[in-house]
């Protein structure tokens, strides 16, 4: 090894040692923020402060609160706060579904969103006894309720959703606007007794990966068309319908899904139609029934399961 090579090796060792020491020190002074776990129910994680991160002499500001729930940024008049909400509570009243979240920690807000399917009817944010903000229908355009994913969860996206302040008597106030940014997740309906299927239901799996179970909790019945044939209609609590047109030979002539989109099977639909039972009921069995999107025909849905129309 030449002298020149020896000098280069010594410099390399010195530089490497220095870089390693810098990295170790830097990691202690600037801890890498940990990615939070998936929100899980009502679990509250206590705030953590890394040892040695600050001088004991300095006045300690409130440490950042880790949110094990659903974090939503709330901006009111330039003041930003993070609300940490617990699991989304779902309550059905008639056709109206209420999604409600309460603060687990941090800023004490509660948020209520009323919807029919994916259509937002209203949203209301409350903070303490007097702070109230609200939007209705078209004014809630920053709130987007997504379709069910493969686990049956809907995501409620809050995209700078603007809610206007209202007075205690409910009248609008021009004073302030609350802007919400974040994401909420709903609980799958099959985990909620009031929304789960009871003894019947149809799985609906679409070609783009959406999956849900259609429960006829919104009603069942028939309509007689101008041609004199009966068309059976089942509705769910999202306001969607499955319609089955039946001919005189008890064959399903046409099947439609009317919801956030319209899907149709116009011929040779794989649905078994029973005769009326002694109790006056009629059963429709879907056996891989394929429906195509009515307009573009680019998406399809496969239906499996059973629906029963009661004695009417």
């Amino acid at each position: 090894m030449t002298m020149r090579s020896r000098i280069a090796l010594v410099l390399l060792v010195i530089c490497g040692t220095g870089a390693l020491a810098y990295l170790v020190r830097g990691r202690a002074e600037h801890p890498v923020t940990q990615r939070l776990a998936v929100p899980n129910a009502q679990q509250v994680v206590p705030p953590e402060v890394e040892p040695g991160a600050r001088s004991n002499d300095a006045p300690a500001p409130a440490p950042p609160v880790r949110c094990a729930g659903q974090r939503v940024r709330v901006v009111i008049g330039g003041d930003e706060q993070d609300a940490c909400f617990g699991e989304t509570r779902t309550v059905q009243n008639g056709s109206v579904r209420l999604y409600e979240v309460e603060a687990m920690q941090g800023a004490q807000y509660s948020l209520r969103i009323e919807a029919l399917g994916s259509a937002v009817l209203s949203a209301a944010l409350r903070g303490g006894a007097s702070l109230r903000f609200r939007c209705e229908k078209g004014d809630c355009r920053g709130i987007v309720i997504g379709r069910h994913d493969v686990e049956g969860v809907r995501t409620i996206a809050l995209n700078n959703a603007a809610l206007s302040e209202v007075r205690a008597d409910g009248s609008p106030s021009p004073r302030a606007v609350a802007t919400l940014t974040g994401e909420l997740r709903t609980v799958p309906e099959d985990r909620l007794p009031a929304l789960a299927c009871a003894g019947q239901g149809v799985s609906v799996v679409t070609s783009d990966g959406s999956a849900s179970t259609f429960c006829p909790n919104g009603g069942a019945g028939f309509e007689i068309g101008a041609d004199g044939h009966r068309r059976y209609r089942f509705t769910n609590l999202d306001g969607a319908s499955i319609l089955i047109g039946v001919d005189d030979d008890h064959h399903a002539r046409r099947v439609e899904y009317e919801g956030e989109e319209v899907l149709v099977c116009a011929a040779a639909c794989r649905v078994r139609v029973s005769r009326y039972s002694a109790a006056g009921e009629r059963t429709f069995t879907f056996e891989g029934t394929t429906l195509l999107e009515a307009t573009m025909g680019q998406r399809n849905a496969v239906l499996n399961g059973t629906l029963i129309v009661p004695s009417l």
């Binding site: 779902t90 309550v91 059905q92 009243n93 008639g94 056709s95 109206v96 029919l116 909620l192 007794p193 009031a194 929304l195 909790n217 919104g218 009603g219 069942a220 019945g221 028939f222 309509e223 007689i224 068309g225 101008a226 004199g228 209609r233 509705t235 609590l237 306001g239 319908s241 009661p310 009417l312």
Partner: protein, 277 residues
């Protein structure tokens, strides 16, 4: 002698009075007013029994009509099924053909559930729907969407049927008999504790019909009516754009109102129902 001549006439008079007293009154649809005070009186509490003929019908009055749609649905309050809605559509016609008059009846009746599904110690007479109240859900007013606007009202006739040959405990929507009568009706979107009949012009809403009929399986006033009467509204429902469609299942087409007659929690429930196109 004079008394003996008078007796047969007096007896005959009494017999005629008694006959009229117990004969069902002539059926009559009520045409709702489109201007002025919106609410008309039908048979308010304390009930007149037998009821006056105002708006009172029987199934025989539907003999010129064909049933073209029928459905039933849960009535859900705070995630609890408190009753069942029976909703039907009839058209004027014969056989299986609706005639060209485009006359349609949209009728509804509800049965409140009696089976408790809640916690021990709660009201055992019904599925309790509130965590803060032990009351069974009571519908005081039914509202449904009708054709017409405040500027251009469309004539609406109202009738009610108390039931058929069954009893108050029957489970069949045709046979079962309601206990409480239709008290008031009119074109308004206000009910118990929101308006005092006959209301005023400011209470008018020509896009709605209101039926005032208390329905509660276990009523704190001591008189239960598990079934409502059939509550019927008749209108002209034209062929929508030549499509052959005269009615549809509409979102928020029906509303149930618990107005707090016996200090219950005032509650609105809106749901799908048939509506004239």
């Amino acid at each position: 002698m004079k008394t003996s001549y008078m007796f047969p006439y007096a007896w005959l008079l009494c017999a005629v009075v008694a006959l009229f007293q117990h004969t069902p009154a002539q059926a009559a649809w009520c045409t709702l007013p489109d201007t002025g005070n919106p609410i008309i009186t039908v048979n308010p509490k304390p009930f007149t029994v037998p009821p006056p003929s105002t708006c009172l019908l029987t199934y025989a009055d539907l003999s010129d009509y064909i049933e073209v749609a029928s459905r039933q649905a849960n009535i859900t309050v705070s995630g609890v099924v408190v009753g069942t809605l029976y909703d039907r559509v009839w058209c004027k016609g014969t056989g299986t053909t609706c005639d060209s008059s485009n006359t349609y009846i949209i009728g509804t009746r509800v049965r409140m559930a009696e089976t408790p599904v809640n916690f021990p110690g709660r009201n055992p007479n019904c599925p309790v729907w509130s965590g803060t109240s032990n009351d069974c859900f009571e519908i005081n007013n039914f509202f449904r969407n009708i054709r017409g606007t405040n500027a251009s009202p469309v004539t609406a006739d109202v009738g009610y049927i108390m039931g058929g040959s069954g009893t108050a405990n029957d489970t069949d929507p045709i046979d079962a008999v309601a206990v409480k009568y239709l008290e008031y009706t009119g074109k308004t979107y206000k009910g118990l504790n929101q308006v005092t009949p006959p209301g005023s012009s400011t209470d008018r809403d020509n896009t709605k019909v209101m039926f005032w009929a208390d329905t509660n399986v276990f009523d704190p006033d001591g008189e239960n009516s598990q079934w409502s009467p059939w509550l019927l509204v008749r209108q002209n429902c034209p062929n929508d754009g030549g499509t052959g469609v005269h009615y549809q299942l509409g979102n928020f087409a029906i509303k149930y109102w618990q107005g707090g007659e016996e200090t219950q929690i005032p509650t609105n429930i809106q749901a799908q129902a048939y509506v004239c196109k």
